[in-house]
C-alpha cells in the first residue's frame, strides 16, 4: 500500500476511526489522550461532577442558613438539614441525634415515617427512637468524632443492632456534629442506591459545620427568648407589686390628708371658741358681776349713815375696800380677756400697754421696739399677734426666769413680724412633753392668718418666738367671722 496515495478503503477506515474517537470524546467516555511524548489524563467529567457537587453543597448550606433565619423551632431546622443531607447523598432516609445529659443519644429529627413502627424488645412502641445508649456504629462515630461509611453493615463488627420493625439498612454514612472540641451529636443518612462513595462522605462532612451553626443559633435564640420572657414576667410582677404598694400609699396619704384637715379644722375651731369664750366671760364679768358689784357698793354707801355700834366703822371700811378692789379686779380681768386697747389704740398701743402691765408684776425689764407699724392692720392679724405676744410674755414670767426681754414688731414690705426674745433658762423644743399647750395655739393663730410661727430655744440660752404674717393675704377666717 502506498502511504502517499492511500486507497479509498483505507481512508474510509481512518475516517471511521477518527469519528469513533471524536464520539468517545464528545460523550465524555475518554480518560486519557495518548501522545508521542506523554499521556494526558482527561478528568473533565470528574471536575464537572465535583463542581456540581460543590454547588449542591453550597446551595444546601444556603438553604439551611435561610431556614435558620425564618424557622421557629429546632425541629424545623433539623428537618431542613436532614432534607439537604439526603438530597446531597441520594439517601432514602436519615436522622440527626444529640447526646443528652445521661450520655445517651436522643433524636432531634428523623426522616423515615416507617421508623415509627419500630418496637422495643418488650413489644412496646419505640418512643420515636428516643434516647438510646451509645455503642456500635453510632458510639464509634460519637466517641471518635470521625465520620463513618458502611456499605455492608453485616460485615461491621457488632453490626447495627436495629430495633424490631426497623426498615433494613443496606448502607450508612454518619458524620459527627462538632462544636469546638466537643462532639454533641451526629448526622446520619442511610440506603444510597449502589452504596456510599467517598464523595458522599466529603459532601456530608462539608455540610456538618453548617448544621451545627444553624442548630446552635436556633437554640441560642430560643434560650434568649426564654430568658426575655422570664425577665418580662418578672418585670410585670414587680410592676404589679409596685402599683399595689403605690395604691396602698395613695390610700394612706388620703387618710393622712383627711386627718390633717380634720385636725386643722379642730384647732381652728378651738382658737375661735377660745376667743368667743373670752369675749363671753369678759362680757359676763363687765356687765353681770361688775354691775352687781357696783350696785352692791352703792347700797353699802347708802348704809354708811345708818350703822351704829362699836367696831362697825372699821369693819364697814374693810368691807367697802374689799368691794372696790373686787370691782377693779373684775374690770382688769374683763379687759385682759377682751383687750379694749387693741380696739382703741391698735396693735402698737395694746402691746405697749401689755409691756407696762407685765413690768408692773415684778417681771423682768422689757424693751419694746417697733418699726413701720403706725398703720392699723386687719383686726384678725392684730388680735392674733397681740395674743401671741401676750402668751409669750406669760410663758417668760412663768418659766424663763429671765432678766431681760425684748419685743419687736417690724414691718418689712407686706409682711409684719413679731419677735419676743428672752435671756432665760430656755428649753429643748424637741421634747414634746415640754412644749406648753399655749405654743400650739400660738402656732394655730399664725397659721389662721396664713403666717408662719416658730420657736428657737436651747437649755440655758433663752428663747426666741417669731411670728411672721403677710398683710396682703385675704384671710379665709376673717371672711368667715
Amino acid at each position: 500500500m502506498d502511504p502517499e496515495n492511500p486507497a479509498d478503503e483505507t481512508l474510509k477506515a481512518r475516517l471511521h476511526r477518527a469519528e469513533s474517537v471524536l464520539d468517545a470524546l464528545r460523550t465524555g467516555q475518554v480518560d486519557a489522550l495518548v501522545g508521542e511524548d506523554s499521556v494526558f489524563l482527561i478528568r473533565l467529567q470528574e471536575v464537572e461532577e465535583e463542581a456540581r457537587r460543590r454547588n449542591a453543597v453550597i446551595a444546601g448550606i444556603n438553604r439551611v442558613f435561610q431556614e435558620a433565619l425564618t424557622c421557629e423551632t429546632e425541629r424545623q431546622i433539623g428537618l431542613t438539614c436532614l432534607d439537604v443531607a439526603e438530597a446531597l447523598t441520594e439517601s432514602e432516609g436519615g436522622f440527626i441525634g444529640e447526646i443528652d445529659r445521661n450520655g445517651s443519644m436522643g433524636n432531634i429529627v428523623i426522616s423515615r415515617p416507617g421508623i415509627d413502627l419500630c418496637r422495643m424488645g418488650d413489644r412496646r412502641p419505640h418512643p420515636r427512637l428516643g434516647a438510646f445508649p451509645l455503642r456500635g456504629v453510632y458510639g464509634s462515630i460519637l466517641e471518635q468524632g470521625k465520620s463513618l461509611l458502611i456499605n455492608r453493615p453485616s460485615m461491621y463488627p457488632g453490626g447495627l443492632r436495629l430495633p424490631e420493625g426497623h426498615p433494613p439498612v443496606q448502607s450508612l454514612l454518619g458524620v459527627p456534629l462538632v462544636q469546638g472540641e466537643r462532639v454533641f451529636g451526629m448526622l446520619a443518612v442511610a440506603n444510597r442506591k449502589g452504596g456510599y462513595r467517598e464523595v458522599d462522605r466529603a459532601c456530608l462532612e462539608s455540610l456538618a459545620p453548617t448544621v451545627v451553626q444553624a442548630y446552635l443559633k436556633k437554640r441560642a435564640e430560643r434560650e434568649i427568648q426564654k430568658l426575655l420572657q422570664e425577665r418580662e414576667a418578672e418585670i410585670r410582677s414587680r410592676t404589679a407589686q409596685v402599683l399595689h404598694q403605690s395604691e396602698e400609699l395613695r390610700r394612706k396619704n388620703l387618710q393622712l390628708e383627711k386627718e390633717i384637715t380634720k385636725r386643722k379644722d379642730l384647732s381652728e375651731r378651738l382658737v375661735t371658741l377660745l376667743e368667743g369664750d373670752r369675749n363671753q366671760i369678759s362680757t359676763a364679768l363687765h356687765d353681770g358681776l361688775g354691775q352687781e358689784l357696783v350696785v352692791a357698793k352703792m347700797q353699802l354707801e347708802e348704809l354708811r349713815g345708818s350703822l351704829e355700834g362699836p367696831d362697825v366703822e372699821p369693819r364697814f371700811e374693810e368691807l367697802y375696800d374689799r368691794l372696790v378692789r373686787s370691782i377693779r379686779q373684775a374690770r382688769e380681768i374683763s379687759r385682759e380677756l377682751r383687750p379694749s386697747e387693741l380696739v382703741h389704740f391698735g396693735l402698737v398701743g395694746a402691746l405697749r400697754a401689755l409691756k407696762d402691765k407685765t413690768e408692773k408684776v415684778e417681771g423682768p425689764g422689757i424693751r419694746f421696739h417697733t418699726s413701720n407699724c403706725s398703720e392699723r392692720l386687719g383686726p384678725d392679724i392684730e388680735l392674733a399677734l397681740f395674743r401671741i405676744a401676750q402668751e409669750s410674755l406669760i410663758n417668760v414670767l412663768k418659766h424663763a426666769r429671765a432678766a431681760f426681754v425684748s419685743m419687736d414688731l417690724i414691718r418689712v414690705g407686706e409682711t409684719i413680724q413679731l419677735t419676743v426674745e428672752d435671756d432665760g433658762v430656755g428649753f429643748d423644743p424637741k421634747e414634746p412633753g415640754l412644749i406648753p399647750h399655749g405654743i400650739s395655739i400660738m402656732e394655730e393663730r399664725a397659721r389662721l392668718c396664713s403666717g408662719e410661727f416658730h420657736i428657737e430655744s436651747r437649755e440655758g440660752r433663752g428663747t426666741v418666738v417669731v411670728a411672721r404674717v403677710p398683710l396682703n393675704e385675704t384671710l379665709p377666717s376673717r371672711n368667715r367671722r
Partner: protein, 101 residues
Amino acid sequence: MEGAGTPSSRETVVFQLFVAGDESHSRSAMDNLKAICEVYLPECHEIEVVDVLECSDLALEKKIFVTPALLKLSPAPGATIYGTLSEKEKVVEALGLQREG
C-alpha cells in the same frame, strides 16, 4: 493477561484493551468488557490489558490515541471501539458477536 483459555468448539476471540491506569472510564470499560464476554464468549476469549501510562509505545504503534480503547485482534475481521463500552448492544454488533447456542 486475563482470559479463559479452555478449548471450545468456538474459536477464541482475542482482545487488547488499552486503559489509563485505574482511571474511572478505563475501569468501566474493563468491567463492561468482562460482562459482555461472560455472556457472549464464555471460556473462549482472551483479554490483554495494556496500560498506556506504562506502555504508550504499543498504543501509538496500534494508532490508539485515546483510552479506553478496545481492539479485536482475532479472528478477522478486526475492530476498534473507543469509550467505556457501556452501550453493550452497539459493542456486540461492532464485534460481530452472537449468543452461544
